[in-house]
């Protein structure tokens, strides 16, 4: 299964809905999408990962890269994920401490630091 990406705006947040598999082959597409959004001035991103079937360390690297970019503009990158097998990868790598992870898009949109 390939990667699917779509974006929409809710208030000052940009929701990036990701579906399929994020791996060494597809992660560059997600990276491009995040870079493009930041270049276009979207600094508050919510990455909705509910449709993601697979995530590896390349994908984690892209998300960390996205976080670095938005932070350079005092922005934010929040994740939406309820899937245990995906959350496990964030836990193993300690990235649960780096990313705010929410159970729904609504919750992520409403969240403030």
């Amino acid at each position: 299964m390939d990667l699917s990406l779509s974006t929409r705006t809710v208030g000052d947040r940009t929701i990036v809905e990701v579906g399929g598999e994020i791996d060494v082959y597809t992660a560059p597409k997600l990276r491009e999408q995040l870079v493009e959004l930041v270049n276009d001035g979207s600094y508050h991103l919510v990455v909705d990962m509910e449709g993601v079937d697979f995530l590896d360390s390349t994908g984690l690297g892209v998300l960390v890269g996205g976080l670095k970019r938005v932070r350079a503009h005092e922005g934010s990158l929040r994740l939406v994920c309820n899937q245990e097998r995906i959350l496990k990868i964030f836990r193993i790598t300690g990235l649960t401490k780096v990313f705010p992870i929410h159970t729904s898009v609504d919750e992520a949109v409403a969240a403030t630091d």
């Binding site: 791996d23 360390s57 790598t93």
Partner: protein, 139 residues
């Protein structure tokens, strides 16, 4: 002889194929259903790392994946042809490698060691081997 041996050219698009094959052979070998996600992720990480090493070092040989079914265990070996990288020390003597790609490889190793209880990283003369083993249940 391994139960299944897979050779693929060092291209990112083939890593998914390796994941699917490994998970299917693991299932047939009797690896617990709950561990199949781990198998899929770990073999994907090992293959992504090998692909990165081959590409960064201009190695044209394929990446090898050996799937071994034993009586009480199932093991996967992912074999690369780039010496001097298995312990995470970086390339020695070779051309400078892409730092970002190397970091990703190290993150991959971190994920594998966090995920798999029985993992061995071997640095051979010809390259590195990541060997991961899971117990099987008899069916």
């Amino acid at each position: 002889m391994p139960t299944v041996e897979l050779l693929f050219s060092a291209q990112p698009e083939h890593v998914r194929t390796a994941r699917l094959v490994a998970a299917q052979v693991a299932r047939r070998a009797g690896v617990d259903e709950a561990s199949l996600d781990e198998v899929r992720l770990a073999v994907g990480e090992a293959c992504s790392r090998a692909v990165g090493l081959h590409r960064n070092n201009g190695v044209e040989e394929p990446v090898r994946v050996l799937l071994n079914e034993d009586e009480k265990k199932f093991s996967i070996e992912v074999v690369d042809e780039v010496p001097g990288n298995a312990t995470g020390g970086g390339a020695t003597g070779g051309p400078p490698t892409d730092d970002a790609a190397e970091d990703e490889g190290e993150m991959g190793l971190a994920v594998i060691s966090g995920l798999v209880d029985d993992v061995e990283v071997i640095d051979g003369d010809r390259g590195g081997v990541i060997r991961m083993t899971w117990p099987t249940v008899s069916v």
